[in-house]
């Protein structure tokens, strides 16, 4: 299997895992472990912890594959969302007053995807995706990174940056819209390409 599977290949892999095929889980690991580790490492900034999180995330896939619905999103999306949310949980555990422990439940909610993003990810390499991120105005890119890699809600971002909640949310919306534009994704997107609200 190549490193960018077709939906058909992913569906078969998921089914094999669900029937108890450990080799299939190994194939899934071979395909996505390096990206999963990159995500965890970016969030927790500690290699030992990041590898533990990747290990635990693939065990979660093994234990909860029956809840995965291929009609809602790709297996890759689900795996990486589990890794991201578990990593955020780990970071949040060090912050006072933050609710933790719903990482896996959240992952099921957030698996929904959109074919245009899937197509862009399948078409482009990581360098091209990074280049598209670099086209964003600083405040939008920073807001997106605080959200996705920092695990902050838009309300927390508003507090961190000393801006209104609506402005923080607006930066996320505009940032994603501009990213879509940079990646030449053509279906519906927020209308404005402005730099801030």
């Amino acid at each position: 299997m190549s490193d960018r599977s077709t939906p058909h290949e992913e569906a078969l892999l998921a089914q094999r895992i669900q029937t108890g095929d450990r080799e299939a889980l190994g194939e899934l690991y071979d395909q996505y472990a390096s990206v999963a580790l990159a995500v965890a490492l970016r969030i927790v900034a500690d290699r030992g912890q990041a590898e533990d999180l990747v290990h635990d995330s693939f065990v979660t896939v093994w234990e909860k594959i029956d809840r995965y619905d291929s009609a809602r999103g790709s297996l890759r999306s689900w795996v990486l969302t589990i890794v991201r949310n578990r990593s955020i949980d780990r970071v949040r555990a060090t912050r006072p007053g933050i609710e933790i422990g719903e990482a896996d439940a959240q992952s099921l909610l957030q698996t929904d995807t959109n074919p245009t993003w899937d197509a862009a990810v399948a078409r482009l390499g990581s360098a091209e995706l990074r280049a598209a991120m670099a086209t964003l105005p600083d405040e939008q890119r920073e807001a997106i990174e605080l959200a996705y890699f920092g695990g902050h809600t838009y309300r927390e971002i508003a507090g961190i940056k000393g801006i209104a909640e609506g402005t923080a949310n607006g930066r996320l919306r505009l940032g994603l819209a501009k990213l879509r534009s940079s990646l030449r994704l053509t279906d519906a997107a927020p209308g404005s390409g402005g730099t801030d609200q």
């Binding site: 077709t6 990747v54 693939f58 065990v59 029956d66 999103g73 993003w117 997106i144 949310n169």
Partner: protein, 258 residues
């Protein structure tokens, strides 16, 4: 925030939802709204999946050599709850083929309980208008029931349009039963395919959903040598098939075992 959200608020929060930047209650409310709402929500749906581009933009990091082995060791002693709770395996039929299909068999026996349930439901529904009109269907379902009773292999086929089972009725082909199919326009029908390890497809039968009956397809072809079931939506029966590779037309898949 468990109350229903307005369409406007869902659109406003969609980017934050896609980036995991909502608290748990808000995220749940947005997800529930999008799952049930008939409005297009173009902005919201356009944002879904954006996080994948962020994850894939990172430079991949090579895991240490021992991590894969550690994972495999953990998995080996970690039961999958649905398999652990399964009833004792049913009697295995005499081996007909060797290789990975044989390795899959013990795991694929597990869905037999669910197959039995599907078959019972199917037979119950069928009783509504059994007798003369549905003699062929009745025979097919009886074959399924007999196969289950004798412990023959059953394989799950599932996807966005429904789920069902194929029962290998040794010596007389196999039978697909699907009980919860998505309805189709009048000019469309479902096509069942078999694929070999090289991915070569063979169209083996068409069927249509019904509000009151399970779909039943009898497959005369021997399953030996085939690895995959697939179901597509077609406008008409394809006699010289080339199975599309796109997700839009491939609506159910399943692995063939022995």
């Amino acid at each position: 925030m468990s109350e229903q959200m307005s369409h406007e608020l869902v659109d406003e929060l969609a980017a934050a939802f896609a980036l995991g930047a909502l608290d748990a209650d808000e995220a749940r409310a947005v997800a529930e709204h999008l799952a049930s709402c008939q409005e297009p929500h173009e902005e919201a749906r356009a944002a879904l999946g954006a996080s994948m581009a962020l994850a894939m933009s990172l430079e991949p990091a090579q895991p240490s050599a021992g991590l894969r082995d550690r994972l495999m060791q953990t998995v080996e002693r970690t039961p999958q709850p649905w398999l652990a709770a399964a009833p004792a395996p049913l009697q295995e039929r005499p081996a007909r083929a060797r290789g990975w299909r044989d390795r899959l068999l013990p795991r694929l026996m597990v869905p037999l309980a669910a197959v039995a349930a599907v078959a019972v439901i199917a037979l119950g529904v069928l009783n509504l208008n059994l007798q003369s009109q549905l003699a062929d269907r009745d025979r097919a379902l009886r074959a399924v029931a007999d196969a289950i009773a004798s412990g023959q292999a059953a394989f799950r086929v599932e996807g966005q349009d429904g789920r069902g089972y194929v029962v290998d009725t040794a010596g007389s082909g196999s039978t697909l039963v699907v009980a919860d199919l998505t309805s189709l326009p009048a000019d469309k029908l479902y096509e069942l395919w078999l694929l070999d390890a090289a991915g070569t497809p063979v169209a083996v039968g068409t069927f249509r959903p019904s509000a009151t009956e399970p779909a039943v397809v009898h497959v005369e072809k021997d399953l030996t040598g085939y690895t995959t079931f697939a179901v597509t939506v077609e406008s008409q029966r394809v006699d010289s098939p080339t199975l599309p590779n796109g997700a839009d037309s491939l609506v159910m898949v399943g692995a063939v075992g022995s």
